[in-house]
Symmetry: C2
């Protein structure tokens, strides 16, 4: 599964670098049928997802990935499931928050788009 | 998505109750093509997955689900993605461990089997 892991790493590197610098650019990764569950709130479609992501109440954010796992999600299509756990540093807070995030990536030509996205903070 | 959430709840209630009482019974939820990533170790097929789960080095374990999210994982098939975060109490330790787990469930008649399973402990 070397290739799958490389794709997952490349995707999450791009996703979090973009999230942490200019969240509006993430719009290109979602489609009208994409789903986001953000802390339990379901959001449908790239337009609503981008609106949610760009209006989150923090000015500065940094993701630090701790673990990254990937698996093919279908025997017939080159889609993949990516599971991330890590730390979120918000507005230079000295106490990073733990998070879990799952992406379901669907191939689209030479690239992928996000069909499923589930994000949760993990409180101790 | 009320129905999806009910299915996810029913599945995880059964899965964790079974895990915590008799892990060998989980074999029926996996297939030869099922995948498990356990703390980064990839394991393929129900036989190997059951062997892994039944030989984990703890005698007594209890899962406590903190958050549960579900989304349909395909526009054409009634498959679903279930993301869980929670606490794991191992061998009556006073310090529960945080975990994240993702299941990809594929319909099979009136039931579902696990195609993808990704488990991670979250260390602070």
């Amino acid at each position: 599964m070397a290739d799958i892991n490389a794709i997952a790493k490349q995707f999450t590197d791009f996703y979090y670098a973009t999230f942490d610098s200019d969240r509006s650019v993430l719009n290109s990764l979602y489609r009208p049928e994409s789903m986001l569950s953000w802390e339990g709130t379901p959001i449908l479609g790239n337009t609503s997802i981008t609106e949610k992501l760009t209006t989150l109440p923090f000015a500065k954010v940094q993701h630090k990935v701790t673990t990254l796992d990937a698996q093919p999600s279908s025997p017939t299509v080159a889609s993949l499931l990516v599971s991330v756990t890590g730390l979120l540093v918000v507005d230079d807070s000295p106490n990073p928050l733990q998070f879990s995030q799952v992406f379901h990536l669907i191939p689209d030509g030479a690239s992928y788009y996000v069909y499923n996205d589930i994000f949760r903070l993990n409180y101790a």
